[in-house]
Structure formats: structure tokens, C-alpha cells
């Protein structure tokens, strides 16, 4: 009987034959924490080891600072310092401080992620690293601390869902719209505890940026991880960053043709329209044109789901088609995922144009995923964002948020109300 990707990855990392539903112990390739949760891990580790503990392998531990970067509260500043000092004590070199950007993206750009790696992080969207075939998963501080003892942790071998996507997006429509459509179709628990593999010609042709968008939203359907084995340009990019071992991993960890799936779904994107998650849940999905005209006070483009160069480029094209003007009174914020993405935006001349249009272009950070960052919404305000969650009050008590693609978000900034980007792109 053939094996799915997650079964092969878990067989490799546990060193034994495994079956679905079983609990197993896997070797951890990278155990990471952020400025959110990181200090909790450090303090807990020190408490349970009487400050005598040593992490099992300092080269396999990393810290990323992205929730508040740079910090703008005393409490977070203290937490970040706790992490820096612990890293120094423990000889942990992989500390990506407040000048780097969103954790998973920074790890990926720095060649620290290979297909088949088992990666933990205090970020529920850690699993977007499945975009290059890694089994990454978000966990709490206890799981991180436990992994620091001997570099292992427990997992349940999940069932695997197979999702095949065919067709080409029309102008103004993109991977984010497909994802929103899938979330709306399957619901908040539609991938409950599952691993998900994505196939089809749309996926094979897609950029790394699109794959990240796709895999980041598996969490919003309560899935464990979404996996795509790298091919084409994505594979070249990854080999360049993470080394030739990537090729071998792709060969040995791709799913068998006769792998067993618990569910198989097929989508075609030829006739897909721009979609949006309406307030106040990711699975409250409508076509953008069904809610077009609704008032929006603030637009935000960025996050681990849609903060890469291709995402910002797509938004830029909409702004360009609108003669670089946004609606009067509109507050628009663009946040690149990483410093590398920010540099690309600078080189492409985007930043100049955004600033001239009155758009706030920020340093790389998680930004508006929490109410503890710039752009917090006051009660009664409505935002549109390319982040991945719009639970009630998430970015400010009494506020509401639409989630949409970078194109729809920019079109909405241009008109000051929910707008189908095709109305501007023509």
C-alpha cells in the first residue's frame, strides 16, 4: 500500500514504520519560538530545569521576532531581552531579531527549511512551510520546552486529504480567492486534524508566494499541515538556499501514486471570482461583488499569508490602474513579510509610489494580526485585510474585518468601499 507525504515524513523522522492514528515520537529538525511565546518558553524551561538545562542542540533552535518588531511596549521589550540573553547563554546563533521580518518566511529565505523537515514554532501558521514540503506545526510553549530536552516530540499520524486544483485564474483573481473559496466550502473544521496534499496544474505552475498563501490557510480549517513538494522554479529557488539535499528529499518523500487518502476534492479556478471572508469568521465567505459597496475605513496588505513580493506587486498593479490614487480618508497600510521582500519593493520603485499615494509602507512584521500593533481598529470601524483571521474584535474590540486578496484589498483602498478589483483592472 502506498504512502502519503506525511506518512513518509513521519516514517523518516520517527525511524519506524507507522500507521494512521498512531502516536509516535519524531525527531525535531528545528524548534523555534517568536517574541510571542518565546519568553514563556524560556521561563518555563528555566523553571523545570532549575536553570541548569541545556537545549539538546543549539544549532536546531531558532528565535524570530515578528509580533512586535521593533517592540513598542515595555512588556514585549522585556520578553525580547529574555530571549536574547537565553540564546547567548545557550549558544543559540539563529536569532532573527526585530529587523528581519515574519519568522517562517525568514527561516525559509535563510535556507533553514527543507522538504521533510519537522519544525515546531509558537505560531499557528508555522505550517505554511508545507509550501516547500516541510512538516511544520504551530504549538504552545510546553511543546517547545519539551522538544528542547532531547529534540523529540509526540504526534498523531494524521489522515491525508488530497486537493486537486486545475485551470487558470482570470485577471483580478488569484490563489487567495481560491483559498477563501475552499475555506467557505469546507468550513472552520473542514480539514480537522488532517494533513492535506495539493496537486493539479494550477499548483504545479504556482509561485512560492502562492503556495505559501494556500498552505497558510490550512490552519483556518483546523488542518495539521498543507503539503506541496517543490517543483520547477520553486525547487530551483529552494536548492539555491537550502542546498542539494533538497533534491534527494523531494525524491524520497513525494507521495506514492497509490497512496491512500481519506478524502479527495477537485477544484477548477477558470471561472473563480474574487472572494472575501466577511465579518466575523474566515468561513463566512461571499463573492466580493455580493458585498461590493460596503464601507471600509482601513485596508491592510501583508501578513504571513499575503506579504510576499508577488502579493505586493499584485496590489501595486491595481493602484497603478487607478492612477496611483486612493480614496480620501482611507487609511491604507502595506507591510512586507521580510526585509528581503522590502528590498525587492524598494528596487522595483513601489515604495516611492505607495508613499506618494498616501499609503503607509511599514517595516517587515506580522503587523495587523493582533490588536497590539499599529493600525488597531476602534469600535465600529471596518477593516479589510489580507491576514488570515477576522474573528470578532481580533484587531480591536467592536471592530470588524473583511479578509481578501491583495488585489481586492487595494481596489477597496482605491474606492473606499469593498470593490471587485476587476472594476479597476478592467
Amino acid at each position: 500500500m502506498g504512502k502519503t507525504m506525511i506518512e513518509k515524513i513521519m516514517r523518516r523522522s520517527s525511524g519506524k514504520e507507522i500507521k494512521v492514528g498512531e502516536r509516535i515520537w519524531c525527531n525535531i529538525d528545528l524548534s523555534t519560538a517568536r517574541d510571542f511565546g518565546g519568553a514563556n518558553c524560556v521561563l518555563q524551561f528555566e523553571e523545570v530545569t532549575d536553570k541548569k538545562g541545556k537545549v539538546w542542540n543549539p544549532d536546531k533552535v531558532a528565535f524570530t521576532f515578528d509580533l512586535q518588531a521593533p517592540s513598542h511596549s515595555e512588556k514585549v521589550s522585556v520578553n525580547q531581552k529574555i530571549i536574547r540573553e537565553f540564546a547567548k547563554q545557550q549558544g543559540i546563533k539563529k536569532v532573527f531579531d526585530v529587523n528581519w521580518g515574519i519568522g517562517q518566511h525568514v527561516l525559509l529565505e535563510n535556507g533553514l527549511v527543507k522538504p521533510g523537515d519537522v519544525i515546531l514554532g509558537t505560531d499557528s501558521h508555522m505550517n505554511l512551510l508545507g509550501a516547500v514540503g516541510a512538516f511544520a506545526t504551530g504549538v504552545g510553549n510546553t511543546d517547545i520546552v519539551a522538544s528542547w530536552f532531547e529534540g523529540t516530540n509526540w504526534f498523531r499520524v494524521p489522515e491525508t486529504m488530497k486537493v486537486t486544483v486545475n485551470g487558470s485564474f482570470k485577471k483580478g483573481v488569484c490563489m487567495r480567492d481560491l483559498l477563501t473559496h475552499i475555506v467557505g466550502t469546507l468550513g472552520a473544521d473542514g480539514m480537522f486534524f488532517m494533513s492535506v496534499e495539493f496537486y493539479g496544474d494550477t499548483i504545479e505552475r504556482s509561485s512560492l508566494s502562492d503556495r505559501i498563501t494556500l498552505c497558510s490557510m490550512v490552519t483556518e480549517m483546523s488542518g495539521k499541515v498543507g503539503l506541496i513538494m517543490p517543483n520547477g522554479k520553486v525547487l530551483d529557488w529552494l536548492v539555491e538556499r537550502a542546498g542539494k539535499e533538497v533534491l534527494d528529499r523531494v525524491k524520497t518523500l513525494s507521495a506514492d501514486p497509490d497512496a491512500v487518502y481519506c478524502q479527495e476534492l477537485v477544484f477548477n479556478v477558470d471561472d473563480l471570482e474574487p472572494m472575501t471572508s466577511c465579518p466575523d469568521a474566515p468561513d463566512n465567505v461571499k463573492k466580493v461583488r455580493e458585498v461590493a459597496g460596503a464601507h471600509v475605513d482601513q485596508v491592510h496588505i501583508g501578513s504571513c499569508s499575503n506579504g510576499r513580493f508577488e502579493d505586493i506587486s499584485a496590489a501595486f498593479e491595481v493602484l497603478k490602474a487607478a492612477n496611483f490614487k486612493i480614496a480620501p480618508g482611507m487609511r491604507a497600510i502595506v507591510t512586507p513579510a521580510t526585509r528581503e521582500v522590502m528590498k525587492q519593493c524598494a528596487e522595483a520603485g513601489y515604495i516611492q509610489k505607495f508613499l506618494e499615494a498616501g499609503i503607509i509602507f511599514t517595516n517587515p512584521t506580522c503587523a495587523l494580526c493582533t490588536a497590539e500593533h499599529f493600525g488597531t481598529l476602534p469600535s465600529g470601524d471596518v477593516g479589510m485585510s489580507t491576514t488570515n483571521r477576522n474573528f470578532i474584535g481580533k484587531v480591536g474590540k467592536g471592530s470588524h474585518t473583511y479578509l481578501a486578496s491583495p488585489m481586492t484589498a487595494m481596489a477597496t483602498a482605491v474606492r473606499g468601499k469593498v470593490t471587485d478589483p476587476r472594476d479597476i483592472l478592467g
Binding site: 509580533l67 520546552v145 490588536a371 470578532i392
Partner: protein, 177 residues
């Protein structure tokens, strides 16, 4: 008193209760679990007074996918240290489930609970009697009973040890012997 039979009031929630509603991202910088209960459900419309009014021994009762969203362990600590002895839900979200087990914090999977909540068969303030050993939940206020399954497999052993760290320490001790 037999500790396997618990009595307390029910705080009833719907399906897909996310971690921001349980413990809002505004308070993520908190590092002391014992300070976390005061923020519980602050952003949950209609349950803003939970932190003030919850009594030790009260139960949190919910539908499917309880604790979806973020990986924050704060969302487990804030209920554990508020004195909620067990969470009763039709199902738990993946990370929330792990975080609860890893802290030795009991959760019961209760079949039919989501629909029962929608049908008003279990309501806020109802007096519940929960038999942890049998997994029996009796709504004393209106006479309805439910059946819950405790965790099995490895999770049961982790719970028995009192949490993941304690479990690993026990294993390390055994190895030494």
C-alpha cells in the same frame, strides 16, 4: 468527597470558539500563567463578565472545534488557573487539544453537545454533575444526561503523569534505572 464526581455551574459556548475569544491577543505578552485568568473571555460578546463571575469548579461547555486559531497556551492556562476543572466540548481544535494534554488539563469529548447547546438542552448557569471516571455528565437543572469520552492512547499516559514535561522526566528517570 469523591473527587471523580464534580459539581458546578455551566458556562455554555457555541461552535468554533477561537483563542482570541478565550484569551485575546492584546494580553499575549503575559508570561505568568497565574495572571492569565483575569482576561478569560473578555472579548466574547455576552461573556465579558466570565473572569469576574467564574467560581472554582464551574465548567466550560462548548460545541465543536473549541480553541481554534492561535497556538497560545495562555488560552489553556487562563481556564485552568481560573479553577475550571475540565472542559466539556463536542470536539477540540488540534493545538488547543495538545496544549491541554501537555498541561495535564482534562478535556472530555462529549457526543451531541453541539446540537444540545443549539437546542437549549444545556444552558448557562445549569448545575452539572460530572463523573470523570464514567464520562457521565448530568444536567441536574433539567435532567438531561450526556456521555463524554476521556482521552486515550499516549495522551492518557501524559495526563496520568500530570503533563508532557512530567511525562518526559518520568521517562528519563526510568532510563537511568
Amino acid at each position: 468527597m469523591d473527587k471523580t464526581i464534580l459539581r458546578g455551574r455551566a458556562w455554555v459556548f457555541n461552535d468554533d470558539v477561537d483563542t482570541d475569544l478565550i484569551y485575546h491577543n492584546k494580553y499575549l505578552a503575559e508570561t505568568d500563567p497565574k495572571n492569565m485568568p483575569k482576561y478569560s473571555f473578555e472579548y466574547f460578546p455576552g461573556k465579558e463578565n466570565f473572569a469576574k463571575e467564574v467560581k472554582e469548579g464551574d465548567f466550560v461547555v462548548a460545541g465543536t472545534n473549541f480553541g481554534c486559531g492561535s497556538s497560545r497556551e495562555h488560552a489553556v492556562y487562563c481556564l485552568k488557573y481560573a479553577g475550571v476543572p475540565v472542559i466539556l466540548a463536542e470536539s477540540f481544535s488540534r493545538i488547543y487539544y495538545r496544549n491541554a494534554i501537555n498541561n495535564g488539563y482534562p478535556v472530555l469529548f462529549v457526543k451531541g453537545l453541539s446540537q444540545a447547546i443549539k437546542d437549549g438542552k444545556i444552558k448557562d448557569g445549569d448545575e452539572l454533575e460530572v463523573n470523570l471516571l464514567k464520562g457521565e455528565i448530568k444536567d441536574v437543572t433539567n435532567g438531561n444526561t450526556f456521555h463524554g469520552d476521556a482521552v486515550a492512547d499516549l495522551e492518557k499516559d501524559i495526563m496520568k503523569a500530570g503533563g508532557l514535561i512530567e511525562y518526559l522526566k518520568e521517562k528519563a528517570e526510568e532510563k537511568k534505572k
